[in-house]
């Protein structure tokens, strides 16, 4: 595909070519109103076959889990089972209208109710709301609940949220958006939250702490009990960033560890497709003391003399709605199908395999790349992509991986590891794929030492060579036509 640039539909356009011939009108013709006519539309003129080939060719340039290994750390790019898509397209799910009366959508409400119950069971929570539309939206929701909880108790001086320096960047962003001040805590030499820093930070202005466990280094927080106890002892709440739940599902429950509120990323742990802007889903689970603050409506089940029924209801002290209607229902259906297929035992096995795969890769790669926190990891691990003395950096390794047919790992995150490559294979990859990835990474490390220019100039095999990312960020050209009109 090298240099095989696909022309745009404008470049393919031929004057007066068209895709369909309309039949001669069988009614009297009328002129279109002139005020609605434009001569400057500049639309491409193509046949149907031109259009089909063009977009098929574009679609083949896409890289996804369906086309190859995608070890994007922190994103849990696992396979999305196709049966979930078929289920989500069943007319009863796909064609339900959000304004239908509850009596007419009892099956869909039953699905939501069961999913609430299951997520509460998996996370160890007293209640769950399916409203939030993404992980970061779940964070924001949890923080609004945290504020509502303190305010309901008349405690108005809690303005700070503690966040470890290994946290996802969304944590401090959500914190600021919710009106709190984010206070970053340093990590210790083993990659844990520095316990001494937690001790110093805890006072009566702390509204809570946001913890990702396992953290973004892929490490289980070794002092998690002590951290939770310190924060709770000073009156703060514990927020869980559930992004890394794929290491824990079926094994450990954040609620049991003392977490008060946590979001789940259905597109990570529960295999719903990753957005590209959406739709996502980030349900939030809450402990007994926070349950009444959940956003609504949530689904409730009642059984009385008239029979059993499901209804939408607002929790007593709800922070209100955070999304229209019932959240992204299609994603809920897929996650429901996933949990239903795997069951308790299957979810646990998935987590175990995800952890096993990541440890296998760490051990296989630690000779070729530096692993700064080289201890048993969970579902992902972080190595440094810099090869000393060659000028080869994490970005170069990532670009070269494209030539080997692999999607690169997450680059330059977490921020506390310079030149970070964050690798998460997930449980859905088999050993031959992992071995092929190891072979590619080892080959790149060797190339970096023997012929660094080859790596620094990569990719060589892709339709587009290395992009000037600095220029791209500073001189935005958002449409093909803007390019030709640019000075």
């Amino acid at each position: 595909m090298t240099g095989n640039k696909i022309p745009t539909v404008y470049e393919l356009s031929v004057p007066d070519r068209h895709g369909v011939d309309l039949p001669a009108p069988d009614v009297p013709q009328t002129a279109l109103p002139t005020e609605g006519l434009r001569a400057d539309c500049d639309l491409p003129e193509l046949s149907q076959l031109d259009v089909v080939r063009h977009y098929l060719a574009l679609s083949q340039l896409n890289f996804g889990v369906d086309s190859g290994f995608y070890p994007l750390g922190s994103c849990t790019m696992k396979f999305n089972p196709k049966v979930n898509e078929q289920i989500a397209r069943l007319p009863g799910f796909a064609e339900a209208h959000p304004l239908q009366e509850s009596e007419t959508v009892q099956g869909n409400l039953a699905l939501m109710f069961e999913l609430q119950q299951w997520l509460a069971e998996i996370g160890g929570f007293a209640g769950v709301s399916l409203q939030p539309a993404a992980g970061a939206h779940g964070e924001f929701t949890g923080l609004l609940m945290t504020r509502a909880y303190h305010h309901a108790r008349g405690d108005l001086k809690r303005t700070r949220i503690l966040i470890p320096d290994s946290a996802h960047g969304t944590n401090p962003a959500s914190t600021t958006m919710a009106g709190f001040t984010a206070v970053e805590l340093p990590s210790d030499a083993r990659g844990n939250i520095d316990l001494e820093a937690v001790r110093v930070a805890c006072d009566d202005t702390v509204a809570g702490i946001m913890i990702t466990n396992p953290n973004t280094l892929g490490l289980f927080e070794e002092h998690i009990d002590a951290v939770v106890q310190l924060v709770r002892a000073c009156g703060g709440l514990v927020y869980g960033d559930g992004a890394n739940m794929n290491a824990l599902a079926g094994i450990a429950r954040p609620g049991d560890l003392g977490f008060d509120v946590m979001h789940f990323n259905l597109h990570k742990t529960f295999s719903t497709p990753h957005g590209g802007g959406g739709p996502g889903s980030g349900p939030v689970g809450a402990s007994a003391r926070l349950k009444e603050f959940l956003p609504g409506p949530v689904v409730e089940f009642t059984r009385d003399a008239q029979g059993a029924r499901y209804d939408l209801a607002m929790p007593d002290k709800s922070i209100g709605r955070v999304a229209t209607f019932s959240g992204n229902f299609g994603m809920l259906v897929r996650a429901y199908a996933y949990i239903r297929q795997h069951g308790t035992k299957g979810l646990r096995e998935n987590s175990e395999h995800a952890v096993l795969n990541a440890n296998y890769l760490r051990v296989k790669l630690r000779d070729a790349f530096t692993v700064p926190f080289d201890r048993i990891n969970m579902h992902e691990f972080v190595c440094s992509g810099a090869i000393d003395g060659t000028g080869v950096r994490a970005l170069d390794v990532s670009k070269r991986l494209l030539d080997y047919g692999f999607h690169p790992p997450t680059n330059y995150f977490p921020l506390i590891v310079p030149e970070a490559l964050m690798i998460e294979p997930t449980e859905t990859e088999a050993k031959p794929t992992l071995d092929a990835f190891v072979a590619a990474m080892q080959a790149i490390a060797k190339e970096a030492r023997e012929n660094p220019a080859l790596v620094k100039e990569a990719p060589h095999q892709t339709p587009v060579r290395r992009l000037d990312e600095v220029k791209a960020a500073r001189e935005l050209v958002l449409t093909d036509r803007a390019k030709s009109e640019a000075p």
Partner: protein, 378 residues
């Protein structure tokens, strides 16, 4: 074609090897104690690393070097294999600080895009005093003290920064030129003094703007974010005296308040208005008498993280005690903190230092509504 002025202070670092804590004014003593020149070796290490990076680069820029004779630059450039070298200053065998100044003046006259030098804080000071605050300056560490912001961590790191700067991957940021008073330092006293600011190629602060997307932010823009936080805090506390300390991070607070904050001095603000500039200790004490509510705004100096040094003469122990350790607000950009793992205190008052150290961590404002706990050196 980039033109780089290259200069080595050949005696830099000699004092450190023989326990002299600096070489300013004691080079002869260092030699008597058996010190051997090491600046040229450090410079060569950086130049060879840089040459290797150029050779590995798909489109290496051709570089025109301007330098001084012999061990003040030319020798190392030739040893590293650079060809386009012009000697603009010829120094005697026993070079002095005057040769540093003469070489830099000739770089400026001839026109260079950047000055690369090898030395310590003293060299950085001498060079920046002539080169001014607008000429990009980058240091290869070879001195005894390297607290100024222009140095790479190692010679190889300096080479990497230079390469990335020339490739357009990183930009410039304003950093501080600081130096210790070596006479005091030899008597086991710290006296960090801020002399001026300089422009240097700077590894950007990486920000995580989405789950897997990293972008770098302009260092000055981050200072403005921090300053906006302070502007709000100052507005929220009418009648409180805010003493703004030295340095470019605190200077940005002046920008946010639309006042002209001095770079090196301590200025006073109350109700968002200037009530004193470049204050001396006595003037500060008088203000403290008038304002029962007071805050002191500081930023750590240099990579060593000194928050209060004896270089800040007006901030005497009496002043700090009067303000109260709880009323010190610390500011820093995340990039500066990345080079500054520990905060250090040297107020000149052991009891006060012990109080600060006992806190173990101090919150540092690193952005708008963002703080970070930073460890205090024991």
């Amino acid at each position: 074609m980039p033109r780089i002025g290259f200069f080595i202070n050949p005696i830099a670092g000699m004092g450190g090897r023989v326990g002299l804590k600096g070489t300013d004014g004691v080079a002869a003593e260092a030699v008597r104690r058996g010190a051997e020149p090491m600046a040229n070796a450090r410079a060569l290490e950086a130049l060879r690393g840089f040459k290797r990076l150029l050779d590995n680069s798909p489109n290496p820029p051709a570089i025109e070097w301007l330098t001084a004779s012999g061990t003040m630059g030319r020798k190392a450039l030739q040893a590293a294999g650079f060809a386009l070298v012009e000697t603009v200053h010829t120094a005697p065998a026993e070079s002095t600080a005057q040769d540093t100044k003469a070489a830099v003046e000739k770089f400026l006259t001839a026109g260079v895009d950047l000055i690369l030098f090898c030395g310590g804080d003293g060299t950085a000071r001498d060079i920046c005093a002539i080169a001014g605050e607008a000429m990009p300056v980058l240091g290869i560490p070879a001195g005894v003290k390297m607290y100024s912001g222009v140095f790479g961590v190692t010679p190889a790191h300096t080479a990497d920064i230079l390469m990335r700067y020339l490739a357009g991957e990183i930009g410039l940021a304003r950093v501080e030129i600081v130096d210790l008073d070596e006479d005091k330092y030899r008597g086991d006293e710290w006296a960090v003094r801020l002399y001026m600011s300089a422009l240097t190629p700077f590894e950007p602060t990486y920000l995580q703007s989405a789950k897997a997307l990293i972008s770098s932010a302009d260092e000055e823009a981050i200072k403005d974010d921090i300053a906006e936080q302070l502007r709000e805090d100052i507005a929220a506390e009418p009648g409180t005296l805010f003493l703004l300390g030295p340095g470019s991070t605190v200077q940005a607070v002046g920008r946010a308040l639309a006042i002209d904050k001095t770079l090196l001095g301590i200025d006073a603000v109350a109700d968002s208005k200037v009530i004193g500039k470049d204050l001396a200790e006595q003037q500060i004490l008088e203000l403290l008498d008038r304002y029962p509510e007071r805050k002191l705004v500081l930023s750590p100096i240099g990579a060593q993280g000194f928050l209060l040094g004896r270089g800040n003469q007006p901030l005497s122990p009496a002043v700090i005690r009067c303000i109260g350790a709880d009323n010190i607000i610390v500011l820093s950009t995340p990039a500066k903190l990345a080079r500054t793992p520990l905060l250090r205190f040297d107020t000149g008052d052991a009891a006060l230092d012990a109080d600060m150290i006992s806190r173990k961590f101090l919150p540092v404002i690193v952005g708008y509504h963002r703080a970070r706990l930073v460890k205090v050196a024991a």
